[in-house]
Amino acid sequence: MLQRRDFLKTSAAMTSALALPNVARAQASKLLRFVPQANLSSLDAVAGTQYVVRNAAFLVWDTLYGIDSALTPKPQMCEGHTVDAELKTWTFKLRAGLKFHDGEKVTTRDVVASLNRWMVRDTMGQIIKSRLDALEAIDDLTFRFRLNQPFSKMLFALGKNNAPVAFIMPERIAKTDPFKLISEYVGSGPMRFRADLWVPGANAVFDRYTDYSVRPEPADWLSGGKQMHFDRIEWKIMPDAATAGAALQSGEVDWWENPIADLVPLLRKNKNIAVDIADPFGNIGSLRMNHLHPPFNDVRARKALLMALDQQDYMQAVVGDNPDLWKRLPSFFTPGTPVSTEEGGDLLKGPRNYEAAKKLLSEAGLLGSKVTLVVATDIAITKAQGDVTADMLKRIGFEVDFVATDWGTLGARRAKKDPPSQGGWNIFHSWHAGADCVNPAPYTALDAGGDKAWFGWPKSDAVQAGILNWYAAADLGAEKLAMAALNKASFDNVTYAPTGFFLLYQAWRNSVSGVVKAPFPVFWGVQKA
């Protein structure tokens, strides 16, 4: 029979065993535990454009070309290419010996099927498709684009990091409808996705692909040798920022992709943790207006917003007081990139002028108009911008209908073209990764093609002409000229209102080395002591 004293002894022993210091936590250096920015709910970075999906897909799939940190496309799966003088016939040769994770060889049949799927969804792909006479496999390793018009941006299109990315999949998978998610995750990238260990919303596991053919050049973003130093990478989905921060501090995870600004001071105090800027290209805040309905179907109302909009208010609301994390941006394009420009951005420069904004609205007969501002309050960045906008709109004489909602609802509502009084909207906020705003190619939000444009449906022939001029530009000088004209046309049209440029952090344990700044987490080259 169990005696009281025995029971107490056993309980004490169990309690001390449970509460042993967490020394057993020390993990093998071949395992990396990573907390991504969001839940990984699929892996198809062609059918969808979510950043988290694209980031995971970079581990599993490879691309024909890959951009480096100077945004120059370099051969990746390709050995090289030739192009005729007219830039119409592009012939590519694959590297020999490439294999998919199921052991099958990568052939040009896979490439053609993958590119055909990608061309339906990607903006640059659609331009290639519109100029395409044929995309053909010459032999197992050689394939060719035959175009009826020159296209100088082919290598960038095939190697860019913006989703939809031109990932190469086995032909049987690539034949999936481009508007449907794939359900088999076989690539030829440096890591294999372990679908059998996937717990969506909690855990995703990637194992090193031992047959991966590493390029000899040093790795630089998506180019060069993607040398993996881990046998396994585990993505730990943590919806709660405080939990992720605590897990990083206690050593239960190694790398956190996007610590929130509030927790950064705490993380900095921990000598075992490094904190640095995640993406040098940062992000551009966006105030998106609906061009279909009053008051913002009138360009004067849109310009009045630019006169009153103070980017400092927005950026401090988004990232706090640290001036290193934000800057004013009188441009639609990412600052500090090869073709960035501020041409035409004068309305965003200098002191804010509420009176001038009111006067302009008055002239347009729009003073006192009702504005339906739909704000996703479950996302800190959109919530912060929405609060500033509500205040600004009131100051210049609008009546504000502030609709607080979640991102899922906003995603549906912003697609409605109905008037705001019938479930539509006037303004919503978002933000664009700076890497998507380096030029017009991946920049969906800049398009001003009316009905076919991004939400808000801006229409401007000058903007559309500017985009085409950039595509036609043959050298950097011509690109810069095209970009300047495009930026000016976009400000003349007020396609949307940039609310500023801001940077976000990443944090990792000091035992991890080789973390680089990039628009996506770069796992190759990273090591753990």
């Binding site: 913006n162 939990t243 605590a246």
Partner: protein, 314 residues
């Protein structure tokens, strides 16, 4: 008794059917669009529309409801819109952590709360009673996530006794990692439950202890322990069991929060993620499962009454 159980199980069918219709209608008319989430922020409206069509979300309510109901009747809860995985598989992946958390929480709550409630009733009006009730009020008033953060900060970050987050599957050969992962979440989730059960136990025990048969037992010289645990507690058990059953619903709600705070891959987090993404098949599947479970728990509670009170017969 057997006939009663069969009748009650059959009675769950219309309940679950009504829940199914209600949840399907609610989701159909609620704003939100999984196609927009799949497409991502950079997709054009036309892309979103095409994805919506490819998912069959543009079809009429009746068509979708009939199709889904037919699937459910065949035991098929459908496939997740995002992962393409069967909903039943996704629920199965998440059952063990949730069940573990709930069982541990229930065990902890009952084993702590019932003795505390009995003690408070026995020492009614003394400082012991007041201290017990003060703790009960405190834990009942403080939200689960606050208790969770405080426990994690103290026992995981500062003292390094337990992990901050995560879940280790149960292993019969080495259950300690499983237990270490669940101690803090169970304590956080159990706090409010302990408070609730302790208060009910105290109140019902006070009522029973004032009954004539207890006075008679005392007059006959029966010692305190048998009076408390054999005579009083058994007669006070029916309301306590009832409140444990009702509290099970609260436990499910609390588990949603606790699983998020401690990053436990349970059913609660599954359904929260699904709601945020509008992954309709998962939401419908989980709600159906939970409503069925709740009906079964109530049945178990009703059957337990017969153990504690022989006068109750079905």
């Amino acid at each position: 008794m057997f006939a009663y159980i069969v009748r009650r199980v059959i009675a769950t069918i219309p309940v679950v059917a009504i829940v199914a219709l209600f949840i399907f209608s609610l989701l159909y008319f609620a704003p939100g669009d999984p196609a927009a989430i799949i497409a991502g922020d950079q997709a054009t409206p036309a892309d979103v529309e095409r994805i919506r069509a490819s998912l069959g979300l543009d079809r009429p309510f009746v068509v979708r409801f009939v199709e889904w109901s037919w699937q459910v009747m065949q035991g098929n809860l459908g496939v997740s819109i995002f992962t393409n995985l069967p909903v039943s598989k996704m629920i199965a992946q998440r059952i063990e952590p949730s069940l573990s958390l709930m069982l541990l929480t229930l065990t902890f709550a009952i084993s702590v709360a019932v003795p505390l409630g009995v003690l408070a009733a026995w020492k009614h009006g003394t400082w012991i009673d007041r201290v017990v009730m003060m703790f009960a009020v405190f834990f009942f008033s403080v939200p689960v996530f606050v208790v969770g953060y405080l426990l994690a900060y103290t026992f995981a970050l500062q003292l390094d006794w337990f992990p901050v987050q995560g879940y280790t599957p149960f292993s019969i050969s080495d259950p300690l990692p499983w237990l270490r992962n669940l101690v803090l979440p169970a304590a956080a989730l159990g706090g409010a439950f302990v408070a609730l059960i302790a208060r009910i136990t105290r109140a019902t025990m006070l009522e029973v202890l004032s009954q004539d048969y207890i006075r008679t037992a005392r007059a006959k010289g029966v010692s305190q322990r048998p009076i408390l645990f054999m005579h009083a507690l058994k007669n006070a058990a029916v309301p306590i069991v009832t409140i444990i059953g009702i509290g099970f619903a609260g436990l499910i709600g609390g588990a949603v929060v606790t699983e998020s705070v401690f990053a436990i891959p349970g059913v609660g987090r599954l359904v929260v993620d699904a709601i945020l993404r509008r992954d309709y098949p998962i939401i419908q599947g989980v709600v159906l499962m939970l409503s069925f479970t709740y009906v079964l728990v109530n049945l178990c509670v009703d059957l337990l009454y017969t153990l504690f009170d022989p006068r109750i017969r079905y």
